[in-house]
Symmetry: C2
Subunit: 205 residues, 2 copies
Amino acid sequence: MPEKVIPDIVVGRLPIYLRALQRMLAENRHVTSSQELGERLGISAAQIRKDLSQFGEFGKQGTGYSIDYLADQIRQILNVDKVWDIAVVGAGDIGSAVARYQGFANRGLQVAMIFDNDPGKIGTKIGPFTVQDIAELEPSIKQAGIKVAMIATPSEHAQEVAEQLISAGVQAILNYAPINLAVGEHVRVQYIDPVIHLQRMTYYL
Amino acid sequence: MPEKVIPDIVVGRLPIYLRALQRMLAENRHVTSSQELGERLGISAAQIRKDLSQFGEFGKQGTGYSIDYLADQIRQILNVDKVWDIAVVGAGDIGSAVARYQGFANRGLQVAMIFDNDPGKIGTKIGPFTVQDIAELEPSIKQAGIKVAMIATPSEHAQEVAEQLISAGVQAILNYAPINLAVGEHVRVQYIDPVIHLQRMTYYL
């Protein structure tokens, strides 16, 4: 059955809605509205209603949204009603921080392994993980069937690492190295570079 | 003189163009085209030309862009032809990684101070910085005239820290805590939450 193609910008807002809904649940809240969500997020209520309507009918006019139900539905849409294992490449400051990051809990993702090429780091512990030799990257990822990876290597290694990850079966890469990756069309890449975010704000100062 | 209001989404692409141009300069390149930039970035050449045309005329039809000139112009537009000091709040894994991050060099930003509320961390060194008591946050930031900050505290402290930062004069906040901040209209906030980026990709898996 062909599915309607949803603009990626809409898909990109769903995790933000889900995070806010999960926060409301943690506050013991059970019903919300597009107005309230919008105020929390700085997004218009109309935008939220329009985004959600792309995926179905999640609330009733006048009674708002059941937070539990809407969160469950968004989790299903985003495929995070299961837990994805993540491979982290690079055990420097950022890779280590990511491997120990507490923020993955209950959000459908968990770090499963971390690799580095530095003999001084291989075999050492980062949180619960033992740093693996990058030479084991392809067989380990293939064997574990891992589809999601984070690159936290120096820029000059990021493209090569991306190619190894893809050849091992990875289809989604979050790249912390401040460089654009060239990948095939079947692979998704997202970027985290604090300078990009900061420069977007210095424009207004 | 009233300036044309540029959509923030366009402003948000300029740092990405600048990063690619700086990379080309590092490769000893001096001329590029919107086609080449677009291929590197996965953005259409037409989009790049349209974005840049909002700010002026930076290239000549047929001869392409001088990379040095275009990079200089974008630096000026983004106000990163000078160097902004950054205050980091939170000396945990992420705050420490950010404080030691090498990727700020030559991009108009540098970490200048780091704060924490943990007596076990206050006074310790992170890279070249001594962790300061968060009680000193407002006077230190005011005295230094700092306008840019990063929050890397647990979620439950992020809003309070943001309010202290703003009261000290900060106008641009990069928030690593996975929670939305409520701030006044004169303050810019950007977010880095790896789960938001990852969930945007698991949708497609």
